[in-house]
Point group: C2
Chain length 226, copies 2
């Protein structure tokens, strides 16, 4: 069982407010897991009963729309926590978490976390601030979906992927989403997404290297995204 003290999640998440003793308590009760690409960490409607710390890898948070299509609501990467909302609301998960690449995560039971809420105010405030940040992003995201065209949303998403997750040595985007997943992020049909990528390619805004994408003209993309 590895220690939590030097874990990356501790540095970046709400957990940074925990002291040595509290970290030791977590280290004792946590469960480490390896999640393979494509595997589900938890699914919409499931009772989670704790939170997951993402130690490595990226996952997509999705929600099934009544029309049967999956919408990617957001991406979560190393250093972040999963399942906080569900735990606090005492409700089943509203979103599914599915690994986009191999992941290392730790599960910490609800009982442990809820104890910290009572005793460690800084921790509570951190969690609250994180969720408030998520709420702001969700509202902003909603307005984008409602007001922007598919083209604008695609440009914006490409820039987001570039700025947030960076590139490989060959300049291709590090997070490798399928065209289908990219379409599901921007909320459009797969064919429309492919077609627009093709257009962007012809316009010299991006370059398609097999299934991978290179951003060639970020300034123009930003202008396009508004």
């Amino acid at each position: 069982m590895s220690k939590c003290e030097q874990c990356i999640v501790r540095e970046f998440s709400s957990l940074k407010a925990l002291n040595k003793d509290e970290l030791l308590k977590i280290a004792e009760c946590k469960t480490s897991k390896i999640i393979k690409k494509g595997e589900t960490i938890f699914a919409e409607g499931e009772n989670v009963n704790g939170i997951f710390c993402v130690k490595d890898g990226i996952c997509k948070m999705t929600k099934l729309s009544p029309n049967g299509k999956d919408q990617i609501v957001k991406l979560v990467t190393k250093g972040e926590l999963l399942g906080q909302r569900s735990m606090i609301s005492e409700e089943p998960a509203n979103l599914s978490a599915v690994a986009l690449e191999d992941m290392q995560v730790c599960f910490i039971p609800k009982t442990e976390i809820l104890g910290f809420f009572d005793k460690n105010n800084q921790f509570s405030m951190n969690v609250m601030k994180t969720i408030c940040g998520d709420l702001k992003l969700a509202d902003d995201h909603m307005v984008n979906m409602a007001q922007k065209s598919v083209k604008e949303r695609l440009a914006e998403t490409l820039i987001y992927l570039h700025e947030t997750f960076g590139t490989n040595t060959d300049k291709t985007l590090k997070v490798q989403l399928s065209r289908d997943e990219l379409a599901s992020m921007i909320g459009t049909a797969t064919e429309s997404c492919i077609r627009l990528l093709s257009d962007f390619n012809k316009l010299g805004l991006i370059e398609l290297v097999g299934k991978k994408i290179v951003l060639k003209d970020i300034q123009k993309l930003k202008k396009l995204a508004d």
Copy 2:
């Protein structure tokens, strides 16, 4: 200065966790305001420095999209609190709050509320749960915007307005939004919204009584909304 003990906001919001002494402290420092229909309680980008308790009336929370159009993100009505996210995140307001009808609100300074976070855990948990609820709604809303057609969103919104705010004695919807505002809720052009209302009218799903709307066939509307 009226007391807070019997106030409707106290019954329905996170404030219900506060004890008599705490309520008295609030009663002393709060400011009551009358907001006329159309007036702004606070605007996007403003520093709010406290929260507003909605004692009576309804307001819209809007965000300006880069294309210059206002998107209505949600409606807030009596018994609810405004400006919590901004206060907790220590950021300017992300949304504007504008009265849809005459309102009574009370302003409670930030300093007072932050004090309760330290001393009253139940209050903290209530606030956290409220924000978690907001986050779930925002995510769901986002998926709707991304995946549903304008027609589906209109049907869904009409049902929401009916179920949440009810009807007048003549069966018309109580919240009276202009066609423009309704369009801004569902994220479409005003003309498209008007046209669809007209279609729904011809199909017998709704009835247009001047600028007001009566839902005639809720079952069919629900089917339409998915």
